[in-house]
């Protein structure tokens, strides 16, 4: 965990005082709505269908047990006892009263969390691999650089009013678990000749116009990270469109200019500033690195006897197969907690669950929790010998559904049940799908399959990069759902292909099941995954079955 310094703490305390004053002036009528709205948005406060929504930033998805308890307390004290983890590693509270928001923020500031950079046309919370610092396939811990970017970007005076919001994601592993290619800037940390640097991608994004990011630099030395980002942001800030909100993201600028021309502009700007104040020298990086207090892991052996014994239990074995990942340290494991129980809204956790998870993190995982963009939680440092005991306790609080990475591990936005932008409901579709695919053995047989649902074209549910994507649309006050196939959000990211006309709410679960049955019939063997079969066969066989007359 990064340990915030007194500057961060004092800044947040001052921010709460400032926001409290703004709220008081708004409630007294001294500020009008036009004046107040941008102020609340800069603190993560939205007005949704039924109430205010507070989006709380979880920097690069890392939480301490103490911070998770603080979130639970806010859920219990100011909201309705639950929160919703999002695809950007944040958490949202759906029912907070404006008058109580300053108190909620003051409580969060006590544990150095806040809503800054979760809204508005600024550089948003940088996201990364939820397994950072623990993954067996990692080159280096990317959180150091996420924190560097946080310190540079928070309240950056030049980039507070960008043409649109700006999202950065970093990965440092062979397998991209941060969906970097569908971000405004994606950074892939890698090594060249023993030096640390980044492949820099720009112009990725989902929403109305989905694009995969284009690489504009294969290797950017780490010391140049901030100056190069500054050059990208300047190029975007000056050249990005402000005349049309739907064309204001950097992806449109990159697409319209061409990646090569965009890169030339960036390089020209960078040449002016690369050796200036933003150069990251070793001392600066070390100072930040030193504030990360990582756990001193025990020297343990892999595959302890107690684990081998537990794996004889088929229920434990099934959970272990998809919820436990290899760790860089011997004798340890990374554990994903599924927030996708059958019939429940994806990504929701109650205050009681958050408290219990915090206790389990303290008992079994060095007090650290991560939020994954798939809307699950992760315990990154678990002793393998503790897995059976941990599993039993996770099961007891409903976060051990053995579906991580499987069809019922659905990413879904809040949809029309909460969101003022949505056209259709996402959660009920997700619930019905998890009920249809509730059988653990069946979903294990289907294997890895990412199903993502968005309630509108803004694509918060990342439907474009779902192996199966579902997009809710509205026609004459009825909900319909478009189906896309073949999307991927990983290192070989691609946008899914629309396979036909939208189907009604009553049909959508059946259509998904027919897609799955087609895969099961046509796969070469259980080793061929759904997405591999779609890539081999193309979408035609799936379309034919999905839309076959009945």
């Amino acid at each position: 965990m990064y340990v915030y310094d007194e500057f961060d703490r004092a800044f947040l305390q001052e921010r709460v005082v400032e926001f409290r004053d703004q709220v008081e002036r708004r409630l007294a009528g001294e500020l009008n709505e036009e004046e107040f709205k941008p102020l609340r948005l800069m603190n993560g406060v939205y007005l949704q269908l039924h109430a205010y929504m507070l989006r709380v930033c979880i920097p690069y998805g890392t939480l301490s047990a103490r911070q998770l308890r603080a979130l639970a307390a806010v859920a219990r004290k100011y909201d309705r006892g639950y929160g919703h983890f999002t695809t950007r590693q944040n958490i949202q509270f759906n029912w907070i009263k404006l008058a109580e928001l300053p108190d909620a923020m003051a409580d969060l500031a006590e544990v150095v969390i806040h809503g800054i950079q979760t809204s508005g046309n600024c550089i948003r919370n940088t996201t990364t691999d939820p397994w950072a610092g623990a993954a067996a396939d990692e080159v280096e811990d990317p959180r150091l650089y996420a924190e560097v970017i946080r310190q540079w970007s928070t309240l950056h005076p030049e980039f507070t009013y960008l043409p649109r919001k700006f999202k950065i994601a970093i990965t440092a592993a062979k397998h991209d678990r941060a969906a970097i290619r569908v971000h405004d800037v994606g950074l892939r940390l890698h090594k060249r000749d023993g030096k640390t640097g980044f492949e820099v991608m720009v112009g990725g994004g989902l929403g109305r116009s989905p694009y995969i990011g284009k690489t504009i630099r294969d290797f950017l030395p780490e010391e140049d990270l901030l100056s190069y980002l500054e050059a990208i942001l300047r190029t975007y800030n000056l050249g990005g469109r402000r005349d049309n909100i739907y064309k204001a993201r950097i992806k449109i600028q990159v697409h319209e200019m061409g990646a090569e021309a965009f890169a030339q502009k960036v390089e020209a700007e960078w040449a002016e500033i690369r050796d200036g104040a933003l150069k990251l020298d070793k001392a600066a990086l070390d100072a930040i690195r030193d504030r990360f207090l990582n756990p001193a892991l025990e020297d343990l052996e892999d595959a302890p006897a107690s684990l081998a014994t537990a794996l004889a239990d088929p229920d434990f074995a099934r959970w272990h197969a998809n919820s436990v990942a290899p760790h860089k340290a011997k004798g340890h494991a990374i554990v994903t907690l599924s927030l996708k129980p059958v019939g429940a809204p994806p990504g929701d956790a109650t205050a009681d669950q958050m408290d219990a998870i915090a206790d389990l993190a303290d008992a079994y995982a060095y007090g650290e929790i991560r939020v994954a963009h798939e809307q699950n939680l992760t315990l990154p440092y678990v002793r393998q010998k503790d897995l059976p005991a941990l599993w039993a306790k996770l099961k007891a609080i409903g976060v051990a559904t053995p579906n991580v990475g499987l069809i019922s591990d659905i990413i879904a936005c809040p949809g029309l049940d909460y969101c003022s932008l949505a056209n259709a409901r996402s959660i009920p579709v997700a619930q019905k799908l998890t009920e249809r695919f509730a059988d653990d053995a069946r979903i294990a047989d289907i294997g890895r399959l990412h199903l993502n649902i968005s309630g509108c074209i803004n694509a918060c549910g990342h439907h474009h990069v779902g192996h199966i994507g579902i997009l809710g649309v509205e026609k004459k006050d009825e909900e319909f759902f478009q189906i896309t196939l073949g999307g991927k959000g990983n290192s070989k990211a691609r946008i899914g292909e629309l396979i036909g006309p939208a189907v009604s709410e009553g049909e959508v679960v059946d259509v998904v099941e027919r897609l799955v049955e087609t895969y099961l019939d046509l796969r070469t063997s259980p080793a061929e995954t759904f997405i591999a079969a779609v890539q081999r066969l193309g979408t035609d066989p799936f379309k034919e079955r999905a839309y076959a007359p009945r």
């Binding site: 709505e33 007005l47 909201d79 309705r80 006892g81 009263k97 909460y418």
Partner: protein, 108 residues
């Protein structure tokens, strides 16, 4: 010829004006008395664009009580009171169509 300064609003039937209450974000409707009510059944109903523009003027003049006012279509129920006429407004009236998580409280 229509003056460019003349405001236009196309409505397709009975319409109410709805917003969110400033203090807590709760859904409210403009009442016939020009205040706000938390019951759609007690909302003022306009049946012409002039009616609804007048209601919107009242609503926009009271942004220190309720914000984001807009016209919403309604149908008139058997008891003569307005009911939401589309899914979005039905959800705003009744809340999420999904059960809150087990252990969640109904209201803060």
């Amino acid at each position: 010829m229509t003056s460019p300064l003349q405001r236009k609003l196309k409505i397709a039937g009975p319409t109410v004006v709805t917003a969110n209450r400033l203090a807590d974000g709760a859904v409210v409707w403009l009442s016939p008395a020009g205040g706000w009510t938390d019951s759609i059944g007690a909302a003022a109903v306009g049946s012409t664009s002039e009616d609804v523009l007048r209601l919107l003027d009242i609503a926009h003049g009271d942004e220190n009580t309720a914000v984001g006012a807009y016209p919403a279509p309604v149908r008139i129920g058997a008891d003569g009171t307005p009911e939401p006429a589309n899914l979005r407004e039905r959800i705003r009236v009744s809340g999420p169509t999904v059960a809150l998580p087990a252990g969640a409280s109904a209201a803060a």
